[in-house]
C-alpha cells in the first residue's frame, strides 16, 4: 500500500512536466485560435473580444499557471468552441474508448495466447508456420484497410452488424456490443499479432533454459512444464508490452473511432487540435497521462503476481 502511494506521489512531477510540455507544444502549432474559432468573416474587434474573454491575451506563463490553478481545484475549464466544461467532454468520450481498448485487448489475448504458446511449443510445425504468417499479415495489413473490409463484408453485404451507431453499454448492452464488435476485431488483430510474436520468442527463450531442462529431466510432462514452469517466466516481458499496448490504445484509436463513428477519446483530442480548442487538448492529455500512470502501476503490481521473485523496490 505504501508502495502504491509512493508511486502515485512520484507521478505528480511527471504529470506536471507533461502538462508543461503539452502546453508549450500546443502553442507552437501555427494558426490563431480566434481566427479558427470565429472564422474568416469575423471582424478584428470580434477576435480581440474573444481573446479577452478567454484570457488568451495574457502572457503564456500567466495562462499556464491560471490553468494549473484551476486544475488543482478540479476545474479543467470550458471548451473555447462551445463553452462546454472540458471535464464533461472527456467523460462523454472516455467510456467508449475504454470499452474499445478493453475489447481490443481481449480479442488480442484470445488470439495471441493460444497461438503464441502453440507456435513456441511446436516450433517449426504447422501452427507455428501458420501463426507466423498471420502475425506478419496482421502487422503489415493496415488496420484501417481491415476496418473497411469488415464494414463492406459484414455491414453492407451481409448486413449482420451495423457500420456505426454507438450506444453506451449501460443504455443498450446488446446494441453496444453489435456496434463495437467490428472495431474491436479490426484493431485487435493487429495487436494480437504483436503480442503473439512477443509471447512466442519469450517462451522459446525460457523453454531453452536450464531449469526447464531440469523440470523435463524430473519426468514432468510437457503440459506441466510449459504451463506451470515456463509460461509464468515468459509472461514478464509480455506483460510490459501489453501495458504499453493498452496505454497506447487509449489515445491511439483515432482511426478506428473515425471509421466506425465511435465518439471516442482519441477523436476528441485530434478534433480539438484542428479547432485549436487548446484547453480541451490540455485537459484530455492530462487525463490520459494520469491513466497511463495508473496502467503502469497496475502492470508493476502484476509483475509480483506473475513472478514472485520480483520485489517492489523501495526507491522510485
Amino acid at each position: 500500500m505504501a508502495y502504491v502511494l509512493r508511486r502515485l506521489a512520484l507521478s505528480i512531477p511527471t504529470l506536471l512536466l507533461g502538462s508543461i510540455l503539452v502546453f508549450s507544444l500546443i502553442h507552437l502549432i501555427p494558426g490563431d485560435v480566434a481566427t479558427v474559432v470565429l472564422g474568416q468573416e469575423a471582424t478584428e474587434e470580434a477576435k480581440e473580444a474573444f481573446r479577452r474573454q478567454l484570457g488568451l491575451d495574457r502572457p503564456m506563463v500567466v495562462q499556464y499557471f491560471a490553468w494549473l490553478g484551476n486544475v488543482l481545484t478540479g476545474d479543467l475549464g470550458n471548451s473555447f468552441v462551445d463553452r462546454t466544461p472540458v471535464l464533461e467532454l472527456i467523460l462523454q468520450r472516455l467510456p467508449a474508448t475504454i470499452e474499445l481498448t478493453i475489447g481490443t485487448f481481449i480479442v488480442a489475448l484470445l488470439i495471441a495466447v493460444p497461438t503464441g504458446i502453440l507456435s513456441a511449443v511446436r516450433r517449426g510445425g504447422f501452427v507455428d508456420y501458420f501463426s507466423t504468417l498471420f502475425a506478419l499479415g496482421g502487422m503489415s495489413f493496415p488496420s484501417f484497410a481491415l476496418a473497411y473490409l469488415l464494414i463492406i463484408v459484414f455491414a453492407i453485404n451481409l448486413k449482420w452488424l451495423p457500420a456505426s451507431g454507438y450506444v453506451p453499454f449501460t443504455e443498450d448492452p446488446v446494441g453496444n456490443l453489435k456496434v463495437m464488435l467490428l472495431p474491436m476485431i479490426a484493431t485487435g488483430i493487429r495487436e494480437a499479432a504483436l503480442l503473439m510474436r512477443m509471447l512466442r520468442s519469450s517462451l522459446l527463450e525460457v523453454l531453452g533454459s536450464e531449469y526447464v531442462r531440469v523440470a523435463r529431466a524430473k519426468g514432468l510432462n510437457q503440459r506441466v512444464v510449459v504451463m506451470r514452469h515456463a509460461l509464468r517466466n515468459a509472461l514478464v516481458p509480455v506483460l510490459t508490452a501489453a501495458g504499453l499496448l493498452v496505454a497506447g490504445l487509449l489515445g491511439g484509436l483515432v482511426i478506428t473511432e473515425t471509421l466506425f463513428g465511435i465518439p471516442g477519446f482519441g477523436r476528441l483530442i485530434v478534433e480539438s487540435i484542428f479547432r485549436r480548442d487548446y484547453i480541451t487538448v490540455q485537459g484530455a492529455i492530462l487525463v490520459s497521462a494520469l491513466l497511463v500512470v495508473l496502467i503502469n502501476l497496475m502492470v508493476d503490481l502484476l509483475y509480483v503476481v506473475v513472478d514472485p521473485r520480483i520485489k517492489l523496490a523501495k526507491g522510485g
Binding site: G18, L21, G39, Q40, E41, D82, A163, G261, P263, R267
Partner: protein, 541 residues
Amino acid sequence: MKLGTQRVGVWLVLVMALALVLAACGGDDNKGNTGGGQATAGGQATTTGGSTSGAANTAPTADPNAPQSEATINISLNADPPSLDPAASSAFVDRQVHNSIFDKLVDLDPKLEIVPMLATKWDISQDGLNYTFTLRDDVKFHDGTKFDAEVVKFNIERGLKEESPRRNELKSVKTVEVVNPTTVKITLKESFAPFLSVLTDRAGMMVSPKAAKELGENFRTKPVGSGPFKFQERVTGDHITLVRNEDYWRKGFPKAKQVTYKIFTDATTALNNLRSGQVDFTDVLPPVEVAKMQGEQGFRVVNEAGLGYQGMYLNTKKAPFDKPEVRKAVDLLVNREAVVKVVLQGTGTPGHSPFAPSHFAYGESDKYTPPDVAQAQQLLSKAGASNLEFTLKTSTGNTELAQLIQGNLQAAGINMKIEQVEFGTLLEQGEKGQFQALQLGWSGRPDPDLNIYDFIVTGGANNDARYSNPTVDEQLNLARKESDEAKRKAAYDKVMQVLHEEVPYVYIYHQNNVFGMTSKITGFQYVPDGIIRTVGMNKQQ
C-alpha cells in the same frame, strides 16, 4: 522502478506526435473557406422606381397535404457543428442544423428568389435605407414564448454585438425599430444591396430571447428556436437529435418525426453508412463514387452547381507575382476542363469567375478558355521572367488539384512547388500574406457582393492577394449600393474585365453541392445555397 515515469514521457510525446501527424494530414473541408458565413440571396432586389415588396406565396418544400410520419431521418454531416447558436456560428456545417431548429425572416427558393418565412412581406424605401417587415402573428418558440417585433429587434442587436461573427454581415444596420408587434423597421447607415439576402441565413435567424438570456453562453449547446424541429440531445462529435415541433406554424409540417445528424468526418465512412442503412442522407460523397452511385438502384445523387468557387490567390506584393504579366500567364496556363474531369470526377463546373454561370452577375468576360501556352510565354518574356519558380500553399485535402496545376505550368517552364499546410494554418498565413500563391476557395453566397467585395476591394478582410485598384474599388462600391440588377451587372462586368488582366486570384472552378440519399427519402428540394432543408423531408418505411 524508474520505468513508469519514462514510459509516460515517451507516451506523451507519441500522442502529441500522432496528433500532430494527424493534424497535418487530416481532412479539411474541400469547400474552401470554413469561415463560411451567411447565405445571402442574390440580385432579387428588383426595385424599379418605387419600393420593392415581397409577395406572400411560396416557401421552399413539398406538398402540405402529404401526411406526417413517425420516421427518423438520419443525416450524416462531414464535421461536428461547432456552434448551434447562429449568433456565435462561424462554420458552414452549423447552418445545416440551424435550418431545422430556427426560422429566418426570409428564405431562399430553388431559383434563389427571396421568399417569405417569418416575415410575410417587406417594403424597401427608394433610397434603400429603410426595410419595413410585416411579421407572422402565429409563431411560437419551442419554449412557448411568442415571436414578435421585439424578438426581431433583440436578435438583430444580438448579431451586432462586437464578439458575434454576424456583426460583419449586419454592420450596415443603424437602428431596429418596433413599430407595432407585427411590424419592424430596420434602418441602414448606407444602402447595402445584399441586406435582404443576408437575412436568409444566420443573421436573419430568430432565437428565443428568453432562452438566450437565461442560458447565456450555454445557448450554443441548448438552442431554442421556432423552427420545424426542436433540439433534444447532443453528444459532441457523435450526433445531434431533433424532434418534431408539433406546434409548428406551417400546418402539416414538418413531415418526419425526428431528424438525427450523425457526424462522419470521413466521406467513405459516410458512404458506407448510407449503403448499410445507418444513414439516409449524406452531405458529401467521395467524387469517385458519384458516377457509380448515380446508376445504382436504391440510391439517389444530387450533383448540382453551388454558389462557391475554388482557385488560388497570387500575392501581388511578393515576387514573382508582383508583376501582372506573370499572374496573367499563370491564369492562361491552367486547364480548367482537366481539373473538373480528373480531380473532381465531374463534381464541379469549370469557371473563371467568382459568380456561378447561372448567376445574373456572370458576364461574357467570365468565360474560360483552353490553356494558351504561346501567349503565356510571350507575357513571361515581356516581364523578363525566366526559370520562374514559386511555391503554392494548399490544404492537405487538395493536393491533386495542386499537382494538376503544377503540370499545367510546367508547359511554359514554370516550376511550381507544392507545400501542404493544415487548414487553420493556411487561413492564418493567407491573412498575414505569408505566401507566394495560396489555394483557398469560397463556399459562396447568393448575392454577388459577398462573393467578391471582401476578396478584391483594397484592404478587404479576405483580400489575401493584397490587391488594390481604385477603379475596381469604385465599381465594387457602386454595385454594393445599387439595387438595380442590370446596373449592378454592368459594374461587375467592368470589375471582371480588369481582374482578368491583373489576376490577383486565379478562378478555376465552381464546386458542386453533392448529396447522396436512399430512394426512401421524399420531399427533398435542392436549393443552391447547399442547405439541407428538412422541413418537407420524409422517409418511406
